[in-house]
Symmetry: C2
Subunit: 432 residues, 2 copies
């Protein structure tokens, strides 16, 4: 008998405990709708790879295959290609990081580095401290390894040191094992804020005093709109920080090449974990990146990306300033892909999303960036992918939706609330 | 203070329990030596990608980037590219598997599929039944997720049904939860044997009766030397089998593209696990494979690979037959990459390895393919990578080493035994 859409799963009693924490987003179907071309999506975090001239890569791929095909097409080392690891040192040099190629583990995107770090450090019930809000992909990994995730407040300069100290103290008092402090210091996803140098020093000092490893995630560090790239926390402590980086936003996300820089003993564990997970990262992808870095003007290309994203950020901020109803606030990103918007009192971003999509604009509701139901009044706006005019049109539509919600609140005392949405309320990265 | 080679790891008390199961091979350094060009390596399992004409891929890469660059360079779906999933159905059709594209999850090599399946099903202490010997990469994953691994005897037709039944009965009697039966039915790594159709049916029937999921790993299924490819077990049960496949041996391992075909509910979990692990597999690698399958004579190319490996298999078997001392036996592979050799009584393959490497030939000692110290009298010989003449030379050197060991045993009653080697005694795949 075919049971159609609600097939029974004969293996439902066989899954591991950790599989129970893996849940599909209930609003994923909505994001599938939101990926239709008539919808302006301010939801997904897709880099604008169209800004990368395709000739830069065709020449690269051709040369790679002709000159080093047998190596590029073969298994490689679990730790990653050694030439690429040397080149990564040039890249991280831009944020002040110095290291040895042997300190680097190349991964299938930095998401996999997050996965490996968590796998190596976290037993079920171990605590990971994260920002409030935090990157949904990291929350997914921490959940998958059954960590207890504790959110710590942010302000306009990111993670609040005093709140971090209090969280550590409370965890210690409760006898909990805090394994990691996970932070995105530069151009935060989703909050759009950046820690200043003093803030970074304070956070590092707190982590060091507590003897807790700092997990610094820096995918956007080179995508600042003014001045020099912010100096990484890892630049000031090689033993207490694991630094994660990625080529997804500076070259192309479709290559899936990221990395971790870790203290010696940790790096050894990460390599073993990586070998169990994938044997080795793709030589083909790694050597494409390596060839690109060796032969193409990659620093110039990053400048091009910065210009593209700055123009879009400006389009977003100007439109928000011009159009958003009173009581709406948002962060001013100095780089990266995102602004974090707070709706007027009484509005609910999750409940509002279906009406936004009906009005042909999409965003990610704030709850997806918390494990504890916070964020209902927030939403994340991405300006990385749509052209500036589309961004302006999207904000126009969103403002109209918010105005409509405000009228509902005025009339009925509350906006129409959806059933409570659980799980990871964020679209897959390709649903921009 | 710098402590030089034996640096202390300040994070040694922070690791998860599962990280304790991640150990580097003590003989890895030896394999690094064995990768020197003067050594004939019969150790690694590197496919002979040189047999793939590089033009087939340069044209593919070029067309892909020019025609679909912005998609190939972008994030993709967590489940994998839908066109590629349709094409995978053509490939698995060769071993009798029929499925829906939606049943497939594309992974970063089939190693990652092993990782995801284990992550989804296995709590610490859960039992996984494997062949004796079994694929070292699978043992590494099961160990990384703290499974109890139980080896079941093989004969010349692979996994012995009666032994499987006994292992299941014993586990049930002991109150253990058996989550997976892991098998490589075709051209086994490392044993070089293949289950016949009746054997497969018996094994499937036992798994079904026990209500245990069968994990069928089939990287070599299309690389048989005679007749049609063996029909996959999955061809006869879509609900009780997870089927793993890979393009590593039929196209190129450096692309890292593999897949799992799983029952509906399991597939959903695997996609969620994959998103946590890597967000999505590389669009660039997937679409390279897809373009290759769509435009190149891939079935002809697989025939070429078969011819290459058959010639090498023949070189190995003829040399073994001509040169090995009495009391040495080996399996006769009908496809794939490996023969499993049993040394004469009293010899120890692990202890012998340093002398073999000194004599400029390398192999993998049998203990790496067991979790329980079995296999000391065994070794794995790979014929996939060296040219036939090198294989003959390698066997000549190996025969001399074995003769030397036999003389030692005759003189002293035992061969000189190394300290006990622990951990995964297998080289990284690039150390061929």
């Amino acid at each position: 008998m075919t049971t159609g859409g609600s097939r029974l799963d004969p293996w439902v009693d066989s899954y591991a405990a950790r599989a129970n924490a893996m849940r599909a987003s209930e609003i994923r179907a909505l994001f599938a709708v939101a990926s239709r071309p008539e919808v302006v999506s301010l939801a997904g975090g897709m880099p604008y790879v169209q800004a990368l001239p395709v000739e830069m890569l065709t020449a690269t791929a051709q040369r790679l295959l002709v000159e080093r095909g047998p190596v590029a097409l073969q298994y490689g080392s679990g730790q990653g290609d050694v030439t690429l690891r040397e080149q990564i040192l040039d890249v991280v040099g831009e944020v002040g990081v110095t290291a040895h190629p042997d300190d680097i583990v190349v991964t299938t995107g930095s998401q996999m580095a997050l996965d490996l770090v968590t796998r190596v450090f976290c037993d079920p019930g171990d605590v990971v401290i994260v920002e409030a809000p935090s990157y949904v992909g990291a929350l997914g990994v921490f959940r998958a390894f059954e960590c207890e995730v504790i959110h710590v407040a942010m302000d306009d300069e990111g993670l609040v040191p005093q709140a971090l100290q209090e969280a550590l103290d409370q965890a210690a008092a409760a006898g909990k094992r805090v394994k990691l402090i996970y932070t995105i210091p530069s151009f935060h996803n989703p909050a759009g804020v950046t820690q200043g140098p003093e803030r970074r020093a304070e956070i590092l000092s707190i982590a060091q005093s507590a003897g807790v490893l700092l997990l610094e995630d820096d995918p956007y560090g080179l995508l600042g709109f003014e001045g020099e790239p912010p100096r990484a926390i890892r630049a000031d402590d090689a033993e207490g920080v694991i630094y994660l980086g990625s080529f997804s936003k500076t070259i192309a996300s479709g290559l899936r090449v990221g990395w971790a820089i870790a203290p010696h003993g940790v790096r050894e564990k990460l390599v073993l974990a990586s070998e169990a997970a994938v044997l080795c990262p793709s030589n083909y992808a790694q050597m494409t990146v390596s060839e690109y870095l060796a032969t193409q003007p990659w620093r110039e290309q990053i400048k091009t990306f910065r210009e593209v994203y700055r123009e879009r950020r400006d389009a977003l901020l100007e439109s928000l300033q011009a159009l958003m109803p009173e009581g709406t606030t948002w962060t001013i990103p100095a780089g990266g892909f995102y602004s974090w918007l707070t709706l007027p009192e009484g509005l609910d971003a999750t409940a509002m999303l279906p009406r936004a999509v009906a009005n042909l604009v999409a965003y990610v509701p704030g709850t997806g960036f918390y494990v504890d139901g916070q964020g209902r009044q927030n939403l994340r706006l991405s300006y990385c992918y749509p052209e500036p005019d589309r961004i302006r049109e999207g904000v126009r539509r969103l403002a109209a939706v918010i105005e409509g919600e405000l009228e509902l609140v005025e009339t009925f005392g509350t906006s129409h609330v959806l059933n409570r949405v659980t799980g990871s309320s964020v679209p897959a990265p390709d649903l921009a």
